[in-house]
């Protein structure tokens, strides 16, 4: 990444690398710089924890159940399809 030319990351750059970091898509040297920044920066460490928490909380949304009426509709859909097959 171009913006990593400089040796040290600043916070404003670090927050843009969080997803690449979590995705494992940073180069080895970029990852080292990112982790070195975190080691000295409690705010960015907090920020990374919040991004992880955001992913975790979003992932806990449950799909709503089908209504009995919808189950019947889909059973019908399937039967119609089966009869087309004959």
């Amino acid at each position: 990444m171009k913006l990593l030319r400089r040796r040290d990351l600043v916070c404003q750059q670090a927050v843009e690398l969080v997803t690449d970091y979590l995705e494992g898509s940073l180069s080895r040297s970029a990852r080292r710089r990112f982790e070195a920044h975190l080691a000295g920066c409690p705010h960015c460490t907090e920020y990374l924890a919040q991004m992880r928490e955001t992913i975790s909380l979003t992932g806990r949304l449950e799909p709503e159940d089908l209504t009995p009426q919808m189950r019947d509709e889909f059973t019908d859909l399937y039967r119609r399809w089966r009869s087309e097959q004959q």
Binding site: Q12, T19, L22, G24, R31, T54, L57, T58, F74
Partner: protein, 217 residues
């Protein structure tokens, strides 16, 4: 979480073959042998996620429902031809997105990924690029509210407010648990664009959590 692992080497194929172990393999087998309960189970598993995804392409819930209905029918009709080159889920979602895109194509959706959109409001950093208004702590408060069942509806509403392309990626990755490869297949995105959209979507959601729990000042 794949944090901290090394970079993957080499370019990946555009259409990776994913389905070594399709979690829906058993359902697929039953479906093909004519078990209608298998179909209803499949619908139960994916109808709501498909509706949410479709809603981001088309103007109304009613249209989204039509698109999803069409997708189920198309899926049944295409079942014999399904080769298992991707998981059944990826295949289904791909049909959905193709249909939803066709239906929703009047709408101008070409939001350029290249436009800069910072993860954090630039005014929260000083001239040296360091935090001047650092992130406030909210993780425990959010956990408590989630456990009490009082946060999920808010999060659903926030998702609805994300720009459509960001929402699509976040839905598939973080709610549906698809891999980045699967999301690229379903939404016809490059790896890079998928990551940019994911980054923006998650960053916005993080900000919304922070706003929600920010002390009144």
């Amino acid at each position: 979480m794949r944090a901290g692992r090394g970079p993957r080497s080499g370019p990946r194929p555009a259409r990776p073959i994913l389905s070594v172990m399709d979690p829906d393999g058993e359902l697929l087998h039953r479906l093909r042998s004519g078990d209608e309960r298998a179909f209803v189970s499949l619908v139960e598993r994916y109808h709501e996620p498909m509706l949410r995804l479709a809603a981001s392409f088309v103007p109304s819930r009613a249209v989204a429902e039509e698109v999803v209905q069409d997708t189920w029918l198309a899926a049944l009709r295409g079942l014999e031809a399904f080769e298992g080159r991707s998981s059944l889920k990826t295949w289904l979602f791909r049909i959905l997105v193709n249909r939803a895109r066709t239906t929703g194509s009047k709408e101008q959706r070409s939001v350029p990924v290249a436009d800069p959109e910072p993860a954090v409001d630039p005014t929260r950093f000083g001239g040296d690029g360091g935090w001047s208004d650092p992130p406030e702590h909210w993780i425990e408060a959010a956990e408590r509210r989630m456990e009490a069942g009082k946060l999920a509806d808010r999060v659903r509403a926030w998702l609805g407010e994300l720009p459509a392309r960001q929402r699509e990626v976040v839905l598939l990755r973080d709610i549906e648990g698809m891999s980045s490869e699967e999301v690229c297949t379903v939404l016809a995105l490059t790896e890079g664009n998928q990551r940019v959209l994911l980054h923006r979507g998650r960053s916005r959601l993080r900000q919304l959590f922070e706003d929600e729990f920010r002390e009144v000042r």
